[in-house]
Symmetry: C2
Amino acid sequence: MDSTSAYDRLKARFARLGHLGDAVGVLDWDLAAMMPEGGAEARAGQLATLRSISHDLLTLPEVGDWLDAAERDEAATLGDWDRANLRAMRREWRHAAALDSDLVEAHSHACSACEMVWRRARAEDDFAAVRGPLATVLDLTREIAVTKSQAFGCSPYDALLDAYEPEGSQAAIAAVFDDLAVDLPGILDDALAAQGPAPIPPNGPFPAARQRALAVRLMETAGFDFHRGRLDTSLHPFCGGVPDDVRITTRYDESDATGAIMGVLHETGHALYEQGLPADWRDQPVGRALGMSVHESQSLLMEMQACRSRAFLTYAAPIMADMLGDGGSGWDTETLYRLYTRVEPGLIRVDADEVTYPAHVILRFRLERALLSGDLTLGDLPGAWRDGMRDLLGVTVPDDRDGCLQDIHWYDGAIGYFPTYTLGAMTAAQLFQAAVQAVPSIPDDLARGDFGPLLGWLREHVHALGSSVTAAEMLTRATGKPLDAGVFKAHLRRRYVDRAV
Amino acid sequence: MDSTSAYDRLKARFARLGHLGDAVGVLDWDLAAMMPEGGAEARAGQLATLRSISHDLLTLPEVGDWLDAAERDEAATLGDWDRANLRAMRREWRHAAALDSDLVEAHSHACSACEMVWRRARAEDDFAAVRGPLATVLDLTREIAVTKSQAFGCSPYDALLDAYEPEGSQAAIAAVFDDLAVDLPGILDDALAAQGPAPIPPNGPFPAARQRALAVRLMETAGFDFHRGRLDTSLHPFCGGVPDDVRITTRYDESDATGAIMGVLHETGHALYEQGLPADWRDQPVGRALGMSVHESQSLLMEMQACRSRAFLTYAAPIMADMLGDGGSGWDTETLYRLYTRVEPGLIRVDADEVTYPAHVILRFRLERALLSGDLTLGDLPGAWRDGMRDLLGVTVPDDRDGCLQDIHWYDGAIGYFPTYTLGAMTAAQLFQAAVQAVPSIPDDLARGDFGPLLGWLREHVHALGSSVTAAEMLTRATGKPLDAGVFKAHLRRRYVDRAV
């Protein structure tokens, strides 16, 4: 009789699944950063086949049997990491096994079709054109949510959320967001009053090659390991690849040097998390990052907490002046700090500053729950969007292009994703505060371009944990308390009202 | 009862296998052209898993059953292309199903291990260091050859050859090569006497960016579709990717502008073949290229027949002077023609000219058959190499680094591959002759930079056929006769002795 344990069989199967997922990661990066247009159909075939094989390998009946046997007979003898690994396996399996493959495929096709229509509908400001395809996506997403909710014993929205934010709960998020929503308008008013007139930015043009050289230098300063990663260009910046081969992308605007640099530092935060994941568990679920909010916390900690600080800009300003400035003005620390901390209510989420960003997310969180439950119809979505933007940010939405058509998420079937952005911002503030409390030299270190102490703390308290604990456990262990909106609010006041950091 | 035919099931399975193979193609390209060193282990895992899944999907018992049923019950009702597709499926299946997966895996590991030792052994000129690992590779390759030969009913060498050159036969190759070997020394002597003193090449340096711009321009001239492909850099130039997304690579020597350009045009020949394969059969075996000798014929036709000709160089010389020359000398057609047709017996195959190249291949073909049969021991290999180089080319081999250690092939388990280079050169000469007979304007067209008529002929007579016929059938239909060494010999005399083309 074969004596291989059920858990060992699971490890072998999940290693294969990990390799398949990693291959998809590289092919997705290539699609965005390298692939010529003509390759689209072949690539779609490659990705669909890899995803379908992964789904099959994960949902074969033997996997459920192995999970049952390992949990029943073997879990007690496993170490902490292996037990956490087994839990992560069960989570992945639950999400895949809850749905039959016809539903998965129908949803996938509906999302692809809707996304294509959405691209034109957004360009032409024509919400009516995409309403039908979006209704189909929403119906199928609701079916997925309801099916999973019955299997998991939770609400439909929480069942969707769980795919992005393991153990997340809409009730907990709503409580934190409601708290934020109360205080944000006051912080925004105070920030607008405190920031003074708009600074005069440096004069371009800024050649892309020189922006890239500066970006590479600052990535290295921040600790990015180019032996295990690359920087390339793509239309929409992102962080992809695999932990020992992290691919980040950006785009360069030759008339504005500030955007790409901070975008790269944002993606560098994601990349440092990946590069710092536990090497001993590369192929296994427990070796991977926690959910999306923790991933976003790492990029926002790097960008918002560390790199937009006056401390870091003290270090970066002369380097930026040297590599991009050509002797022009606007490269002093104070001008850069004022540019990088400018607050202005606007229509577009991805262009929003740190103070107004949560309002964009809170609006989407409220609307997507109402859409899912049926309390809001698609016909009423554009109006609800306008009302929400007026109430939360005091801005008037002139059209749907810059309103409910601006983000790809819903049109691509991603409901339950938006809250992770603001959960990430709050987590970032709380982790950075704890890091500075533990290592008070961190602001001075950043002012000297030394990221070592900050990165060392993050490696120990976040990156090296992989998924061996939950996001909530990680945060509580690292900061002494669960997620607390107060820390984020205090950060906003210190930076944007006191203009102290 | 499910009425899906066995052949339709095979088509669906082979489409999946095609997608997996294409994914491997992109990941292999990325490994060589993009991947940072640190990504090697993760990539090895991705590729091993994809290959292992492919092997499993191809050798599941159902595939053999479907093949039997389709051949028995359905073949008569299929059209020509579908019948050819079914034959190609059977061929792929035969190669995979002949071997048990333990042998495949042992061979794969032995090759990886041997290749690693070989890299150092070559650098240190230490054949003894790699003799043990090479013996293991050879033993396992022999086991594979014998096992397949029993399944296929052919000689062990032919069983290996068949993986690179479907329907190839060592007896037929030996006859052609022996014929060549008789006449080559005389052609070489006459060529050396005819070529005159070495020309003075243009003076560098030649910045890589300008070489690249020239390469892109000439690729476009030759018909490469950048909507469906890319040009990048890698240590060892190659052509990879997939038909609608062909990735070719080169490397730039800033002190010599001639090498990279002709290397790119060589790879462009491979790429044009891929881009010209029948679009209706993308995912199926019949839609893929014929064996390696036909593939090599397309690169050598482009490089040797078309682009090293005086006609093409008449067109290219002023463009090269303009894009690389900086007003210097050596950019006239005649100097470039003399540089690009220079003959000199040497030690290294990959640096060899068109006249001496076949001798390198004939030596390897003779030695690898003797190694496989056991007539030659590894201990005697270095000496046999020296003897062969002296007899065939009159050169003295000073060490093993530039002798039997120079090529990766045997150390990586590729026995039966070498003859395809010279079969390709002969096929190229024969196809080009037929193209010019059919379209006499081709040399004048090339002298105007118009590749349309040549490419049109190749598209119709080679590329668009995919694998719907055998290589021998393609050649006979396109040129009116089977492979004929006489055409290649006549080409060598016309170019290198008469110096007429």
